[in-house]
């Protein structure tokens, strides 16, 4: 099951040229771009690991692309995403976030049902990959 998250979740994976163009757009707007990775695909896993510091004061996407490539090389079987943070007053939050690397095969999620009091059903998602310890998942 292909994991989709973030701004371009409805599109096929972006090519490097497209990623570069998106980063160029972010830098043009003055947003700070950062790279993050994880191997826990759960949708509620909002805090991924940071790959290096967020990059401020960059003028050109080449610097971010180098960082993205380095992260992909270090974690070829992890999810990697690019975030763009807008620090202007009133926003102070992520404006753009999209996945740039994914493991070769993604086993997907199990839906767990739990019987509660009075026939109440609780549902939860569990990633098959997350059954193994961190770092050995994909």
């Amino acid at each position: 099951m292909r994991l989709t998250q973030g701004t371009f979740s409805f599109l096929p994976d972006l090519s490097d040229a497209q990623i570069r163009a998106q980063i160029e757009y972010c830098l043009g707007r003055g947003w700070a771009v950062s790279v993050e990775y994880t191997d826990d695909p759960h949708p509620r896993n909002a805090y991924w690991e940071m790959y290096g510091m967020p990059m401020f004061d960059l003028k050109d996407a080449a610097g971010v692309m180098a960082e993205v490539d380095a992260c992909r090389k270090t974690f070829p079987r992890h999810y990697v995403k690019v975030n763009a943070f807008d620090a202007t007053h009133g926003w102070e939050s992520l404006r753009l976030s999209f996945i740039v690397n994914r493991p070769p095969n993604e086993p997907g999620f199990a839906l767990d049902r739990e019987e509660g009091a009075g026939r109440m059903q609780r549902y939860s998602l569990r990633a098959y990959a997350a059954e193994r310890p961190e770092g050995e998942r994909y």
Binding site: M53, M55, K59, D60, A62, G63, V64, A66
Partner: protein, 298 residues
Amino acid sequence: MSAPESLPLDLEQLYRDSNVAGVLEALERELVGLAPVKTRVREIAALLVVEKLRRSVGLEAGAPSLHMSFTGNPGTGKTTVALRMAEILHALGYSRKGHLVAVTRDDLVGQYIGHTAPKTKEVLKRAMGGVLFIDEAYYLYRPENERDYGQEAIEILLQVMENQREDLVVILAGYKDRMDRFFSSNPGMASRIAHHIDFPDYKEDELLAIAGLMLDNMKYRLDPGAEAALREYIGLRKTRPHFANARSIRNALDRARLRQAKRLFEQRGAPLTREALMTITAEDIRASRVFEAAGEPR
């Protein structure tokens, strides 16, 4: 798609279409002297225009290496030319953004183990798409301390200079003798720099012309007596210690402005014209200590 070999190509057209001509004219107009520098800039400009034309007919040759080293005495315009170079390379379409990131040893080298690499990489990332200007680059290498982290910064620099030369241009600058020593102990660095440009000292006439340009920019002018005084000042100042070419001239003009302001202030009550506000007179310049036989120049 490659054009037939014999089809005439219009280099002139391409030259006119790019804004290279304007950039080169501005360089000629706004920088005095510096003949070897201007020649080299012209050559680089020609190479890049021809390269563009070659690419248009399918003759790819990879990005030329444009890393440079600027050597010369203080105040010969190394930083100014570096700034210009960033603009020129941008106008020629070689560098994508055309900004200049000026750094010194402190910005590249860390203070403890493992601090240097991220610091250098961060600077390199900021400079991508533009020009990285490393002032007094010889401080990066300190042979007297074999555990100095400068070497680490140099290695990272070399790697990026080699592998990402389409992303950034590195310009090293410094005084001639120390740069020569730096290159002789870092042959890897010397061989990766294609353009070694030496900035000559300015002659007296050139310094006077520079003073004229600076005054124009500051909206001042010299009266005839002041011009003679300035010429004399330059002649004397050149022989004094710590002479820093154009920088000394700028400082002298700044001090003349101070004295002019003081003179006008002391005459307050008398009618004052726009003309008087603009004019620096001989006495403003001759009050300099350089004209006294003894004493340190201010």
